[in-house]
Symmetry: C2
Subunit: 225 residues, 2 copies
Amino acid sequence: MIAFDTFGTVADWHTGVSRVLAQIFPEIDASALARSWRRTYAPALAEVEQGSRDWTLLDDLHRESLDRLLREEHGIRAGADQLDAAVHAWHVLPAWPDSPEGLRRLKERYTICALSNGNVALLTEMAKSAGLPWDFIGGSDLWRHYKPSGEVYLGLARLMRVDPGEVLMVATHVTDLAAARGFGLQTAYVERPAEWGPEPKPEAHCPDDRFHVRGIDELATLLGC
Amino acid sequence: MIAFDTFGTVADWHTGVSRVLAQIFPEIDASALARSWRRTYAPALAEVEQGSRDWTLLDDLHRESLDRLLREEHGIRAGADQLDAAVHAWHVLPAWPDSPEGLRRLKERYTICALSNGNVALLTEMAKSAGLPWDFIGGSDLWRHYKPSGEVYLGLARLMRVDPGEVLMVATHVTDLAAARGFGLQTAYVERPAEWGPEPKPEAHCPDDRFHVRGIDELATLLGC
């Protein structure tokens, strides 16, 4: 079976989030704000995983961190409706152009699962709006843990009743893939050079990844789908 | 959003299980054995819910109960391969003819979830083999509880971030629907007169069900899909 990271790997957060931020806060550089917001992501998840705060849904972490960014860096006190609309942008991200059809091809032969730090409701809404034909949605609230915690990778293998080595983890982030390998999963790296919009993203070539592809369509072809 | 019971409501367990049992144990009346096996279901789940045994996956409960039935009522000691094959029949049940297309229509307007006592791996396999286009699969191992426990109904509403009253529970079993109503869900009863094969199943008309339909296609039509 195949597990997919979503933000950045299957869906284009920079485009989706920038577009919504530009509508809500026309006075701010939306691309820069989207990237600053995304930079708060890993530290916020780490706080939860290190136990310095209780389990908190990604939606709520997103809301807090945007509120703080707007206040501290732009002197803006956003209204509840503005924050709601911005947080909701992550629920309806556009897919990268190759994702829906690549997933559809892979689904014919494999079980395909989202394995994301998004929560189940967020990922379900994204799947419907972006046309992602998941067999199963592995949201972080199922385990109340965030990647790269082992509970997530091993939790999915356990639910699917397979050995970790039977799972291929697909992502465009080396930390995600390194953790997955550490817990015994196989890995595939997907290049997403436009993940950060105008900011260059060097792609990482790692000999420990079983596959290195330029899109999910290419992964489908490599796997004979 | 809409939550569906699966065994009996969306899928035809009597046909699927009888067919496989007839191949494995040609000397036994397969329909009668399928029905006896199904009768062990509720008491086995109740043992788990009442705490007289630890959480146990439906696959494992199925295996134990069939093994015991064969020994005690037919004097047969089944081999591990035979038990595996019989338990697997529940993973690849045929859908009732109206289910795949009815679900596909409902999915265009609603979020549709399996909410079943089956485990996630079982339900994922069934969805792929029977063409059930779930948005999300709510297997009992997500909550380590069996219906009619509230953890299941409320657990799905919590994951989907909706109020219980925004969930429509669809089933052909009155106990499932009564429990769902008790936890604040809306309910729809689906007639499945052939659920028990040759054994008549009286259909229950309850004024507390919001809908009473003869199939999932009829539910889709009633809901304007």
